[in-house]
Symmetry: C2
Subunit: 220 residues, 2 copies
C-alpha cells in the first residue's frame, strides 16, 4: 500500500530519528534519569495513572518530570502539574505520534542530572508511536479493561516493542466483564514472558507495585 | 516536524487516494448503497455496535455488507459475520488506517446494486483515518464513555471531518462517572450543531434511534 518512494523517504527519516534517539538515550543514562515512554489508545488512562505515580514518587523523595504529547490542548500537562513536578506539553498539531526531536526541543533548560525519572506520555495511538524511538529506557504498553482483551493480538507491534504491559482501570473489570485470563493469555501469545502489572488510578490498586517496578528499573 | 520532501510525496499520494475515493463515491451513490465509515479509538466498541445495527437492518429486510480493517487478525470480521451478512476483513499488516484502494480491492465480486448498506469499520485510531477518504457518504466519529469527555478537544480533526458523533457504552456511564453534559459541550465546541447519538450495544439502548438515523440518511 505504501509506495516505494515514500517508503525510502520514511526510512531515512526514521533512521535520523533513531540516531538522535540513541544519542539522547546515552545522555539520559549518563545523567542517571530513567526515561519512560507510555503508549496506549486514547482514553486508556495514561494521565490518571501517571499523576498517581508521580505523586507517589515525589512522596518517596524522588525528582520527577514529565512531557506530554497531544494533537491539541494542554489538558494533560495541567492535570499532571497537580503533582507539583515540572511538566511540559508537546502539541503536535495533527501529528499522530511523538518524535525524538520534539522531546529534545522540550528538554531545554532542564538539568537532567537533577532528575530521577522523566516520563513521556505519548499521543494516544496504538500504531504509529511504536516506530519512533524517543531515547527511552523503558517503553510501557497500557491497555484498559474497557478496550477488550484482543488488543495485544490486533496491535502486536506495540507489545513487541514494549518492555512491560500495564492493564489500567481494573476497578471497571466487573462492569466491563473483562476476561483477565484471556487478556493475559493474549499478551503472552504475542510476547512470551512479558511482565504485566494491573492498576487502578481511581482506587489506587496496583499503583504501589507499578511504582516499585519503576524503582527497581531505575536502580540505586 | 514533517520534512518538505515527505510532505510533497504524501500530498501526492493523498491526492491519488482522493481521486479514487471520489470515483468510488460516485459509483456507490449510483448503485443506491449508503456507505458508512466508522472511526474511533481501539476498543470503543465499533464492532459490537455494528453487529447490533446490522442485525436490526437485516430484520427490517435491508441488504447489508461490511468491510473491517485491522492491523492483524480477522476477529472482527468473524464477529460481524454472526449477523449473516457478507463481511470481509482487510488486514493492513502495520498500516494505521484504511485507504480507498484497500476498500476497492475488497469489493471484488460484490454487486453493489444488490446492497442497501455497506459499512466500513476503520482501524482503531483517532488520527490517521481522518485524512483518508474511502468514498463513504457518511463518516461516523465514535467515542465511548470510558475514554474521557475531552476527546473531541484533543482530536478535533476527527470530529470536524465526521457527519455524526456516536457515544458508545452508555451502560458504563455511571461506573465511569461520565460527564455527559461536558462531552456534549466539547463536541459542540469543536463542531457546532453536530448530531450526537447515544448507544449501548450491550443493553440495546439507542441502537434503534441510530439505525433510524441511518435509514433516514439512506432515503427511500
Amino acid at each position: 500500500m505504501i509506495e516505494p518512494r515514500i517508503l525510502a523517504v520514511r526510512t531515512k527519516i526514521l533512521k535520523k530519528n533513531d540516531e538522535l534517539a540513541r544519542r539522547m538515550r546515552a545522555e539520559f543514562v549518563a545523567s542517571g534519569v530513567l526515561v519512560t515512554n507510555l503508549v496506549s489508545s486514547p482514553g486508556t488512562g495514561k494521565t490518571a495513572l501517571l499523576l498517581e505515580t508521580m505523586k507517589l514518587l515525589i512522596d518517596r523523595g524522588r525528582r520527577v518530570a514529565a512531557i506530554v504529547g497531544d494533537l491539541e490542548t494542554d489538558n494533560d500537562a495541567r492535570r499532571l502539574a497537580e503533582s507539583g513536578a515540572p511538566v511540559r506539553q508537546i502539541m503536535t498539531h495533527g501529528c499522530c505520534h511523538l518524535e525524538a526531536d520534539m522531546v529534545r526541543d522540550h528538554l531545554d533548560g532542564w538539568d537532567l542530572g537533577q532528575l530521577d525519572y522523566l516520563f513521556i506520555e505519548n499521543v494516544g495511538n496504538l500504531v504509529c508511536p511504536t516506530s519512533w524511538d524517543l531515547g527511552e529506557s523503558l517503553r510501557v504498553a497500557l491497555l484498559s479493561v474497557t478496550e477488550g482483551e484482543d488488543k495485544p493480538l490486533k496491535y502486536p507491534g506495540l507489545f513487541n516493542t514494549s518492555d512491560v504491559a500495564v492493564i489500567t482501570k481494573i476497578d471497571l473489570s466487573r462492569a466491563c466483564e473483562f476476561d483477565r485470563g484471556l487478556a493475559l493469555k493474549n499478551i503472552e501469545a504475542v510476547r512470551p514472558g512479558m511482565v504485566v502489572l494491573e492498576t487502578s488510578a481511581k482506587t489506587g490498586g496496583g499503583v504501589t507495585e507499578w511504582t516499585d517496578f519503576l524503582e527497581q528499573k531505575k536502580g540505586p
